[in-house]
């Protein structure tokens, strides 16, 4: 079992590539994206409508080493500032195989 940081980011689907670029530039080993989320936050309710394609959120999940976290966070902060969304960070362990 290896100690890692678990990054969970909820953001507008259209900005997922920006988040993913930030994660990869920060040096993470992998990530997972879940599409089709709805939600509510500072910018109001978001419920995907299928016609305009707007108002859909995604959840991006990434487990990374504590060392790279700081760099990744620095890259994610301006994205959050500009596009909205949330980033949650918690402790986790990965099952080593």
């Amino acid at each position: 079992m290896k100690n890692l940081k678990r990054i969970e980011c909820v953001i507008d689907s259209v900005h997922v590539p920006a988040v993913v670029d930030a994660l990869r530039a920060g040096g993470v080993d992998g990530y997972t994206v879940i599409r089709g989320a709805s939600g509510w936050g500072d910018r109001g309710a978001r419920q995907p409508d299928g016609v305009s394609g707007v108002f859909e959120n995604c959840v991006v999940l990434c487990a990374c080493d504590a060392e790279v976290l700081e760099g990744v966070a620095d890259k994610l902060r301006p994205i959050l500032k500009r596009y909205g969304g949330v980033v949650l960070i918690s402790d986790t362990q990965s099952l080593s195989h």
């Binding site: 507008d12 259209v14 900005h15 590539p17 920006a18 670029d21 930030a22 530039a25 089709g36 910018r43 109001g44 419920q47 995907p48 409508d49 299928g50 016609v51 305009s52 394609g53 707007v54 108002f55 620095d74 890259k75 902060r77 301006p78 994205i79 500032k81 500009r82 596009y83």
Partner: protein
């Protein structure tokens, strides 16, 4: 205005299904077309209208007046955002005004399709071929989708503040889509990609070109899928449009009366402008109605997709709501017969 035209329009199946959708949403029914279906229907409709337009284009004689119409269409789409922006700035900040201006400069394919269907009915009733639009009007529609996006982004850049986060160079996010790259420059490549390679634009333009390229036998072979069931599919899509539009009505409160006024008034004003241009170019009534509808309609697919990337400071809750919940319903119910009544007055 000939009221029978209005009632004829309101009694077409597609408009009735739109009404059913609105009603269901207003009564808080849980009815919904599940998630990727509306997108499938929207791709189908664009594919169908594109192919049909291409085939019609090949059948018709091409002359210089067609080029004139196409050029006028592009100019219209590029010019509408300019004054719209100026007016909208009275109430909105730069990003929101720019995004809304782009929305109204571009077009709504479903409004176009509804008008086209309406002309079909009028033609059958009057037996007057002047109501049959030319296939090149689909080309005009395709050409009018993107220019407003470019103009809108340029307006946002030109009048907007510099980078909203000038604190540290290394912290700027990996921006995209004709965005500032931190030093005020525009990434033209990205901007044009956003404007011209949006999925909706690609399907429409691609199908138009394929419609031109295929043989009559090729067209016959795919007609049972892309032409015959078309009006029925439109009903299903408009049912969903009704649901979606009415569910956005709640957001109208936060938009304010002046914006709603803009959304309602800009449609007939721009439509009349389109009619004027059509009259100057001497096209027939059918083509004139379609040009009116293109000028008067607002985008809710291609433009929002581009604006969220290129002008993320603008609130889609404003520009999508105005376009989808106000201008679109106005145009397909009252607008289309109104514009045709005006055209009939002028042309006769």
């Amino acid at each position: 205005m000939d009221l029978s035209l209005l009632f004829d329009n309101l009694r077409t199946p597609a408009i009735l299904f739109f009404g059913l959708g609105v009603l269901a949403a207003v009564m808080k029914s849980d009815l919904a077309l599940p998630q990727p279906i509306p997108k499938l229907l929207s791709i189908y409709l664009l594919m169908a209208i594109g192919l049909h337009g291409g085939v019609e284009l090949m059948r018709s004689e091409l002359d210089a007046s067609i080029i004139m119409v196409l050029v006028a269409a592009v100019l219209l789409a590029a010019a509408v955002p300019l004054w719209s922006f100026a007016i909208l700035r009275l109430k909105l900040d730069v990003p929101n005004a720019a995004a809304m201006a782009a929305t109204y400069g571009s077009i709504s394919a479903v409004t176009f399709i509804t008008a086209d269907t309406f002309l079909d009915t009028v033609y059958v009733q009057t037996d007057n071929a002047n109501y049959l639009p030319g296939g090149y009007m689909v080309a005009a529609m395709a050409l009018m989708e993107s220019p407003a996006i470019v103009v809108g982004v340029l307006l946002a850049r030109y009048f907007g503040k510099p980078s909203p986060d000038p604190s540290g160079g290394g912290q700027t996010p990996p921006l995209r889509a004709g965005d500032h790259d931190g030093d005020g420059k525009i990434d033209w490549g990205e901007l044009f990609r956003e404007a011209f390679l949006n999925g909706a634009v690609v399907v429409l333009v691609g199908s138009l070109v394929i419609g031109i390229a295929i043989t009559p036998k090729g067209w016959e072979s795919i007609k049972p899928f892309v032409y015959t069931p078309f009006k029925g599919v439109l009903c299903l899509f408009l049912l969903d449009m009704g649901l979606v539009a009415a569910r956005r009505l709640g957001d109208l409160k936060s938009c304010g009366p002046s914006l709603i006024g803009f959304a309602i008034l800009s449609a007939p004003l721009h439509a009349v402008l389109g009619i004027g241009v059509a009259w100057l170019l001497g096209v027939s009534q059918g083509d004139a109605l379609l040009l009116a509808v293109l000028a008067g309609s607002a985008s809710y697919i291609a433009v929002p997709a581009a604006m969220r990337l290129a002008v993320p400071e603008a609130n889609p809750g404003l520009y999508v709501t105005m376009s989808l919940a106000v201008t679109f319903p106005f145009n397909i119910t009252v607008g289309i017969p109104l514009y045709l009544a005006i055209i009939d007055l002028i042309w006769k």
